[in-house]
Point group: C2
Chain length 553, copies 2
Amino acid sequence: MSDRLLYLPLGGAGEIGMNCYVYGYGPVENERYIVVDLGVTFPSMDGTPGVDLIFADVAWLEERKERIEAIFITHAHEDHIGAVGHLWPRLDAPIYARAFTAHLARLKFEEHGHDELQIKTVSAWPEQITVGPFTVGFVPISHSIPESSALVIDSPAGRVIHTGDFKADENPVVGEPFDRALFEEISKDGVKALVCDSTNVFSAHPGRSESEVIEPLTELIAGLDGMVAATTFASNIARVKTLAEAGSKAGRSVVLLGRAMRRMITAAIETGIISDFPKTVSPENAGDIPRENLMLLTTGSQGEHRAATAQLSRGKYLGLKMAEGDTMIFSSKTIPGNEVSVSRILNSFSEMGVETISGRDEIHVSGHANRPDLAMMHEIVKPQVVIPMHGEHRHLSEHARLAESNGFQSIVAPNGVGVDLSGNAPRVTEYVETGRTYLDGSIQIGAMDGIVRDRIRIALNGLVVATVIIEDDEPLGDCWCELRGLPETGVSRAPLVDVLEEDVNQFLMRAKPKTLSDDDKLEEDMRRIIRKTTQEEVGKKPEVQIIISRLSS
Amino acid sequence: MSDRLLYLPLGGAGEIGMNCYVYGYGPVENERYIVVDLGVTFPSMDGTPGVDLIFADVAWLEERKERIEAIFITHAHEDHIGAVGHLWPRLDAPIYARAFTAHLARLKFEEHGHDELQIKTVSAWPEQITVGPFTVGFVPISHSIPESSALVIDSPAGRVIHTGDFKADENPVVGEPFDRALFEEISKDGVKALVCDSTNVFSAHPGRSESEVIEPLTELIAGLDGMVAATTFASNIARVKTLAEAGSKAGRSVVLLGRAMRRMITAAIETGIISDFPKTVSPENAGDIPRENLMLLTTGSQGEHRAATAQLSRGKYLGLKMAEGDTMIFSSKTIPGNEVSVSRILNSFSEMGVETISGRDEIHVSGHANRPDLAMMHEIVKPQVVIPMHGEHRHLSEHARLAESNGFQSIVAPNGVGVDLSGNAPRVTEYVETGRTYLDGSIQIGAMDGIVRDRIRIALNGLVVATVIIEDDEPLGDCWCELRGLPETGVSRAPLVDVLEEDVNQFLMRAKPKTLSDDDKLEEDMRRIIRKTTQEEVGKKPEVQIIISRLSS
């Protein structure tokens, strides 16, 4: 059988989050693999209550782990790196990343007690790493975190350029500018496939440069009285630096609030990304400084409940408290799904008399390439095929339409769809069982295991627990019901628990020995009665847990 | 004691939703009251799982029900009218509304079996209704539903203008245009207070007219092949009519899909709001018409799971099915909090190959006055005080700042804050206990009752049910555990339920009679052990339900 080049997304092609892409080369079902990114996505009360983190389901890879050559991490955003600590033991392959990313990956390995030597730091292009049939290079590309890289993935079947997350920013303030000439250079001998970020395909205007927010932010902060706080993604080192410098210029001492904020700035300094960050003071020492001389940089721009911004909105945090006359700046965009949490914080500040500044275009720019920038990237690389990734289905489809309208082949390959890139046209060759893995407390569970579904059902419908003791196939005493999450009183005005117990006891008194001796039958009948009575009394069909204890005299 | 004029919001001043405002006139604690609007807000899995609807808590009013003269409904949006059927029995006062609104209120009364004669239809200004010390008139004002009205509320203390929801649209397509001269006329003798919509105070540009979407929508629909569906709020009769006419002009038969869509159009025709709506065909008959000649108008623009749009995104609905080459138009804005539901639908359509058109400014306009329109309204009315309503706290504050910056007095009065308007300056005189009432199934429960909190806790942490039978202060047999919403296996690799039962049984064997004879003590100890073991095994501290059955020999 002849060798082929396989592209298989396991995560990230069907959502914005939990990126995990597989490339394979070799004979069918005997390919050697590389994995690009091991990210997380975040749970919500809506669909995943109680879940801590969500990863791509890597069972397919795990079954083939001895054929995984290496894992490459494009950049250190959590949706690309967040699962390395959790999933690495299941894949057990060396991890390659550039210095800043590797530094943060090692911190994760440290927390999990994994062998940090498995994480290898690589330099930027033209350095290349050869693993099995693949040769891979990290090409610097601009994004909203330092050292983001596109991967140049060479195999005997040709070159693939995997953009990672990117924007075409020629002045990104911190880190390497977008280098058009370099991408032309690496593309000049022909590119099999451009696997390309789709996040902002619906944004019609060319993207704006990170450098454009410096002046508006500096002016804004210069004009403010009272304490000033500003929040953005801690990993956006350029933005954090701009905010710190604006504060410093306005005569304010800078305080980093929130673990991620301190960790990211430390990582950026330790890996040489930045050398001239303004001097900071600790929250403890900030108490001695007049409030109009303070500039807080806080985590939690997405309304995260436990982050510094949310804590400040609820009162004191590490001895610091915002008050009337102070200003809170959101130098960020609210990710869809987080609007309500962010609004809650804005309202809390409003109640405290703190002015909030949010949703202003001039103080935030996106880290992703907009529609015209994507079209430009297609033109620079001139690939045989454009494969949209990093998007929901609608982003992938729209990106494919964009590429096709400019004369490129394109294919929509959502998670689990394997595409053979060896030929002149991409060809879907397999559908792989894929999905999501939940980190639930300390345990990884499958999204389809029913555990979270059970929690959602109870949250929606409440729960009745009914206990009955059966001795020698006769009920011993009465049935006992407990309610969880249900109204205490229904339409009959009697306590719901009394009505339920009476109905079940009536049934038990009349039940035939055949029923009483059969756990399944008894449970089924009791459940039916409980659901019917609860529906009549309070209009809800609850979940029911029946507990039958059998004694023999 | 002298008479006073009281303004007291119970809902709507602190959120966008569940509007309920009280005006009182008379001696302190002996005022006569009128209520303006009885709306709902919608639950979410996030904070109110399993809840069906949310109302303002009207306990304060209920305690004073014999002093309520009347209830006035400004317009028929659910956040203003939605609770009339549910709350009316607790307030028991006549309801006044204009014809279209009254028609819809009567449908709600019919569903609840209330006396429809309690709903009185009133004509627009200059008609006025005198109820106790108040004289109230409905002044037509433009919004996104027919017959929206500002209320002119006269009392011996002067005139209040309560705008209701409004925009300054001089060409609203259906219904009455904004009439600047009329508002000048009713304001010319001095207005005590302008109680004013704050929804769009953060929108810097003047609002656009409903008439501006006609051309873009007509052009868009004329250019489409395949089946076309469009969704918007059913109550936006102007928009629905524009869409229907655009479809009709393009040679398409119009199908109304969704109960609200049919009910609203019927109400508009029956009350004379529109007379020339394009002929519609039923979903049953639509099957005979070629798909390129169909125009579906669907409910569910906010991603509601059971509405027509969502059903179509999941497959067949009433025999109709969208397919590749068809187009789904969202002529709507996504309300914050609904982004994820709407995205889910857009992605489902994308997977079906249906093109979706959403988030386009040219095919939707807001129904609320923007910042410059609010300033204009202040200028027209020239009130003694501007009282912002219909907004979250941040909207109210910003609106107050806007008014003050133009030289008006203003006051932020969130829900529960009573303001005396009698003097020359508004004066906060009371803080009233207020909150939210949940409709949970068929029962009204308080937001603070703990019922929903219990459901949320189980959804986040899972539940362990542990049963033990105690006979004569000795455990009879083993403890029995059941898990709900918890991983089956923990770090020890043994089934969690086995580990739990073993730990509890160990404890029971060693427990002193003093513990075994004391239900509270026994429960407390068992709960502690179960939480500790579960935390160690799966990293979660679950909710625990202990059931102790006591037998005596």
